[in-house]
Amino acid sequence: MFEVVIGLEVHTQLNTETKLFCSCPTSFNDRPNVNTCPTCLALPGALPVLNKSVLEKSIMLGTAIGATVNRTSFFDRKSYFYPDSPSAYQITQLYTPVVEHGTLDIDFEDGSSKTIRINRAHIEADAGKNIHEGAISKVDLNRAGTPLLEIVSEPDMRSAEEAVLYVKKLHSIVRYLDISNANMQEGSFRVDVNVSIRPKGDEKLYTRVEIKNINSFRFIHKAIEIEVERQIEAWEDGVYDEEIRQETRLFDQVKQETRSMRGKEEAADYRYFPEPDLLKALISDEMFTTFSDIPELPDQKKARLVSEYGMREYDAAVITSDLETAHFFEAMLREGINAKNAITWLTVELQGRLKGGMTVTTSPVDAKTLGTLVKRIEDKTISGKAAKEVLDYLMENENDVDAAIEKLGLKQMNDTGALETIIDAIIAANDDKVEQYKGGKEKLFGFFVGQTMKESKGTANPQTVNEMLKTKLG
């Protein structure tokens, strides 16, 4: 039996206005190389100046993961030649990172949880992009010098599930803090996975393989499973030492395999040493106080939802797992509706109707509208069944709930006079069934309810129908 050992490195791009060491904007989807200057082009004589807001966002993350925020941290040069790295060294924090020794709890479906240790989070500059077009390679340096926070876990995860839970949790924390857009597809939240296996019970760490280029939660799971399988097979075939090397592998999502990154196999010597162009990065008491006062985190929000609304743990976890859903939910509650109804209509009805990559953020029905719809159920304007029809309509059409109800003619018949007329007519037309019912055939009650609902075209309030029929049929 083998045990899987996983550690994760997450590069999260901080959503600052300007780059890490110059005042170029961080919008790198512009025309290539327009957002550059002498510093991020590494022209002769240009120097870096630290963007202080990067320290502020680091304090926020450090606080969120209960870590030590180093009031004094340092930068180092990491040397390697590559066209997307203009100075041929990356400015990073090797020896004294800004954040150290944090933890993050992951929660399992059965209600249990596990603490994953975070070794460090350090500030570093992102590289540009190389674009290969046949025989020609081009370099776009718009992204060069964009601030990253690299968050490095300890090898504390024991399965692909745990790794995914960790990444999801970290992703949601980063979004709650709003320190990064954290878009995996766009590369603003990049995950490198370190995987090794060992015989169960063994304390020693075996050869660690790094997998890069994984851009979704699903692929993290898949890449780990595939890599673990490869390592176990090698072990069982007796070729572990030959085949499993400490190396970087790419995950190929089409071929569903991990592949060695040739050329990077020779152990790189990055020749780190302290960056002489920057002084130590200092965090003042004032800065620390201001930015360690962070917004509510997913776990806190979850606990609050459970205690405030008596929500089930599971429902609360679903609602708080990502910031957008949580915000949507809270906006619905502002319409003065019941939390339980809000959960159902958000997680079942709305999310069931979001197709083709749509999310709550891009949903055609916004939180206020959905909240109003639920409100109309609660104030008995429409039935729950009718509300589903209204929601279908709202997904495709204009967004006014009351106008839609009117248009679809689904307003609930709360006028007891009109209902009474319908019921009297039904009783009069079915005196045989009335006799049978009175004679003890109680299941015929459903027949009368059905007839009434049909006659009212579904707009009758079922509860009122029940009560009225009971009285009339005696």
């Binding site: 002498p38 002769p44 030649f81």
Partner: protein, 449 residues
């Protein structure tokens, strides 16, 4: 040649005529090779600029083939300060490639002559700036000093060269050699001009994170009558040539005569300075020069592959001394050697700083040789190790980040200038200039050039 102070009083018209004549004179003496070319910015007093200081729209190459054809797209902070003060960058001066050298022989533009003897080097790396001022072809110049590159050529050419406290002058726009050691400084005909030019180029700069916060000025407060306590280090002088010893003794007498108190002190053996310096400087240089890869600018040599392009560009673009220092820097940073070399060198650097701090608790200035001897003959300093050892008097000042000024004090038997330096505590430029002015007045020394 008129002084900077005098030139600052000239009218626009007078300056225009003066600059026209100056350009003619420079072009009439091409064999000196102090200037690489003579361009001008604005209508102000002309200041010659070392080829590693960025002047917008000028070709700026740090004396290297690898930057052949590179046009700087922005001004160094010191250049903006010059033009703001009504001065004009005027001509770029020759230098050792990437400021790595003590003779200006490693420039891709060929050697520069010493104006006092065409067979001698002007010193380096700011040899072009020193020679231009010494030859009467510049009122004043800017140089850069990483391990003596202002002070040593100033001494070899018989002019005044000043290295400010680390952080006093912005490095923004100075092609980097060793970031923690580099400083831009004035090279002038006299001490007062050096103070004036220092005032113009110094001051806090938000673009340089290592720039010091204060903006104190010195030239309007110069006071040659201050009585100072000046340390001499007999142990240090004993290895210098007789010419230097003679000049040193004469200077000590002059300082005494001017009313200063001379005290004998000792400092750590200079051989530790050399090791700490060459490890620190080459480690930083190897990364600072890594950007010259032929990808974005400069002199690219196409290759079969990316690796080939890097290798060809850098093999053909860099000269021998630069390659030597890149290799040395990579070696001292490589895994397995980092602690033994780089880390140890930083410890030595701290010791040197501490030693100076202790000394400056007791004295105002230190008097020291600049070089072990007067200007070398061309080709005499071929052995790199010998060249490194010749920096023995200048580099601890850079390691400790201190201000120092080199000024001419005597003429050697062979007719070459003898220069000595005064060293002050960090940020004590006022004391440094006051002492230097007092010495200059007391010696009333004029070179027979």
């Amino acid at each position: 040649m008129i002084t900077l102070k005098e030139a600052l009083a000239l009218s626009k018209e007078e300056l225009a005529t003066f600059k026209k004549d100056l350009k003619k004179q420079i072009e009439a003496k091409p064999e000196l090779n102090a200037y690489i070319d003579v361009n001008n910015v604005g209508e102000g007093v002309p200041i010659a600029i070392k080829d590693n200081i960025q002047v917008k729209d000028w070709s700026v190459t740090s004396g290297s083939k690898i930057l052949e054809g590179y046009i700087a797209p922005y001004n160094a902070t010191v250049i903006n300060k010059l033009t703001d003060a009504g001065l004009s960058p005027f001509g770029r001066t020759n230098m050792d490639e990437f400021a790595m050298g003590s003779t200006t022989e490693s420039s891709c533009y060929g050697i520069t002559q010493n104006p006092h003897n065409a067979n001698c080097v002007p010193g380096g790396s700011s040899g072009g700036s020193a020679a231009a001022v010494a030859a009467g072809l510049a009122i004043a110049a800017l140089g850069s000093d990483t391990g003596g590159s202002i002070r040593q050529p100033a001494a070899f050419c018989g002019i005044v060269g000043m290295k400010p406290t680390y952080g006093r002058v912005s490095r923004y726009g100075l092609g980097a050699y060793a970031s923690s050691l580099d400083q831009i400084g004035p090279m002038t005909q006299n001490v007062e001009d050096a103070a004036i030019l220092y005032d113009i180029i110094s001051g806090h700069d938000v673009k340089d994170s290592t720039s010091h916060e204060s903006n104190e000025k010195v030239s309007d407060k110069l006071d040659a009558s201050r009585k100072l306590t000046i340390a001499i280090i007999p142990e240090h002088v004993k290895d210098a040539s007789d010419d230097i010893k003679k000049g040193y003794a004469k200077t000590v007498e002059a300082l005494k005569a001017a009313g200063h108190t001379i005290v004998e002190k000792s400092l750590m053996d200079g051989k530790f300075d050399i090791s700490a310096y060459y490890i620190t400087a080459t480690a930083e240089a190897t990364t600072n020069l890594a950007r010259y890869d032929g990808v974005r600018y400069g002199n690219r040599k196409e290759g079969e592959s990316l690796h080939d392009l890097y290798v060809r560009t850098r093999s053909e673009g860099f000269g021998d001394e630069v390659k030597r220092r890149i290799l040395l820097g990579n070696f001292v940073l490589s895994s397995g050697y980092y602690d033994a070399y780089y880390v140890k060198a930083q410890k030595v650097r701290h010791l040197i700083k501490d030693e100076y701090a202790k000394l400056f608790a007791e004295v105002d200035l230190i008097l020291s040789p600049v070089a072990p001897r007067t200007a070398y003959e061309v080709g005499a300093l071929e052995d790199p190790l010998e060249m490194y050892l010749s920096d023995i008097y200048t580099i601890s000042v850079n390691l400790a980040g201190l201000p120092a000024i080199s000024l001419p004090v005597d003429t050697a038997e062979n007719g070459m200038p003898v220069g000595l330096q005064l060293i002050a505590n960090a940020y004590e430029e006022q004391t440094l200039f006051d002492g230097a002015l007092s010495l200059e007045k007391q010696l009333n020394f004029k070179l027979n050039s």
